[in-house]
């Protein structure tokens, strides 16, 4: 890790020289994290490839200012700085997708920020009041994506997009909680807050009984959003579980489910017994089934 960061520090520090060798060193450093970020953000591989090229082009444009920005960032870890820079550009790319009304914008937002949004909501919830977080998450996404993502396209670029989104999410969560429970006074117990009757307006002008909705089918949109959140969460959970597997076990799964090899063929290629391959597949799939419930 120390060696990797020393290489990263050297690669970033060499950029102001603006030589081909300096850029080459930077590309060999940055291409993996940029590619990982692209695969994470883009729902399909061609889009991930386009995003990779976009991110590398942005980094190339900024190559001369990266070293001074790193120095000013206060971050000692060069890789952490690089990951932060990539994250900034992914945020701008996302906003661009929403401004262009790209169909994959919502999916990309959820893929990039779902884990963070969950964490922000958990931290923003009053102590002992974690029940209903999933509903709140859905409320927050519905509000974020409403009106063609107007809350997202309002981003002006003054702060990093992540910080902007966090503020918006926390505000939307507070709004959602107020709608659900009424205003909660500081110091009120969680039990009292949870048991409080819901406040609704009796003024039809504020909340008409049958509000007009410009979406074609709001119910279908909500169901689609719920499905997207569930799917992304499951994908993330499976990815996390697979990352924890030893590489040789993962290779067995790849051979079976990506390359379509039979257990006998996998055994021949890996020098294991067929029985062992069956055992690995059975045990690993049983573990993954728990994740995929």
């Amino acid at each position: 890790m120390r060696e990797e960061d020393s290489a990263a520090s050297y690669a970033i520090a060499a950029l102001p020289g603006d030589t081909a060798a300096a850029w080459q060193g930077f590309v060999s450093l940055a291409s993996r994290p940029v590619w990982a970020a692209s695969l994470r953000a883009a729902p399909r591989r061609p889009q991930a490839e386009a995003l990779f090229s976009h991110l590398m082009a942005r980094l190339h444009e900024e190559r001369l200012s990266l070293a001074p920005r790193w120095a000013a960032s206060g971050l000692r870890d060069a890789m952490a700085f690089l990951v932060r820079e990539i994250d900034l550009h992914v945020g701008h790319w996302l906003v661009g997708l929403f401004r262009a009304e790209a169909p994959e914008a919502a999916d990309a937002l959820v893929r990039v920020f779902q884990a963070d949004v969950k964490a922000w909501l958990r931290r923003a919830a009053p102590a002992g009041c974690l029940a209903g977080l999933e509903d709140r998450e859905q409320d927050v996404y519905a509000a974020l994506l409403a009106d063609k993502g107007r809350r997202i396209t309002a981003y002006q670029g003054a702060a990093p997009f992540r910080a902007f989104l966090r503020t918006v999410v926390v505000n939307l969560a507070a709004e959602s909680a107020r709608r659900e429970h009424g205003r909660i006074r500081p110091g009120a117990s969680a039990k009292a807050a949870a048991g409080r009757p819901r406040l609704v307006s009796l003024n039809d002008d504020d909340h008409p009984l049958d509000p007009a909705d410009d979406r074609d089918d709001p119910e279908a949109a909500l169901l689609a959003l719920e499905a997207m959140l569930t799917r992304t969460a499951r994908e993330e959970a499976v990815l996390a579980a697979l990352r924890q597997l030893p590489p040789d076990i993962r290779r067995v799964l790849e051979a079976r489910f990506l390359d379509g090899l039979k257990p006998r063929e996998i055994a021949e290629r890996s020098g294991r017994e067929v029985k062992e391959i069956y055992r690995i597949l059975e045990r690993t799939l049983a573990h993954l089934k728990l994740v995929l419930v």
């Binding site: 081909a20 850029w23 080459q24 590309v27 291409s31 993996r32 940029v34 590619w35 990982a36 695969l39 591989r45 991930a48 490839e49 990779f52 090229s53 590398m56 082009a57 190339h60 190559r63 499905a227 799917r231 499951r234 994908e235 499976v238 990815l239 697979l242 990352r243 993962r250 799964l253 790849e254 489910f257 990506l258 993954l288 089934k289 995929l292």
Partner: protein, 162 residues
Amino acid sequence: MSEPNRLDILRHALATLRDEAEPPAHLVAAALALHGAALAPPAELFALRAAASPEEHQALVCTSRSGLWTLEIFVGQSPEDQAAGRGQLLLGVHPDHRPTYEGRTARIFIASDKGGDEDEGERVLAEAVVRNGELYADIMLTGLDLHRRDAVNVVFGPVVSP
């Protein structure tokens, strides 16, 4: 769109992890080329007077003015090639600059003062994509003055997808 089943999710996750291991080589090459593209000459000129070959009318080898490119022109040796005036052209870039030009189109032409039906006084010898740092093409030598040695120009275009 139907929801993916558990097997689809597992396959997708395995494919993502396999993809994550290494970014595609063509994308990395394009990223490397970003730097060169900003700095590399968009055109090259070969003054054939600098050419050296044992039989000057059979083959020519010379380096571009920037020093990045080497041009070789071979005169076809078979009776058919001789009769038709056919030959071959090989353009090669210095290995250090290969990523800069990889996948870019190159139009190779000589200035022509003969008028006629040639566009804007140019006679195009070849137009092709640089692959693996080289461009190889069959050319017609008719009208190419290997004795007086016409100047050969190369203009590079944008990267073409493989």
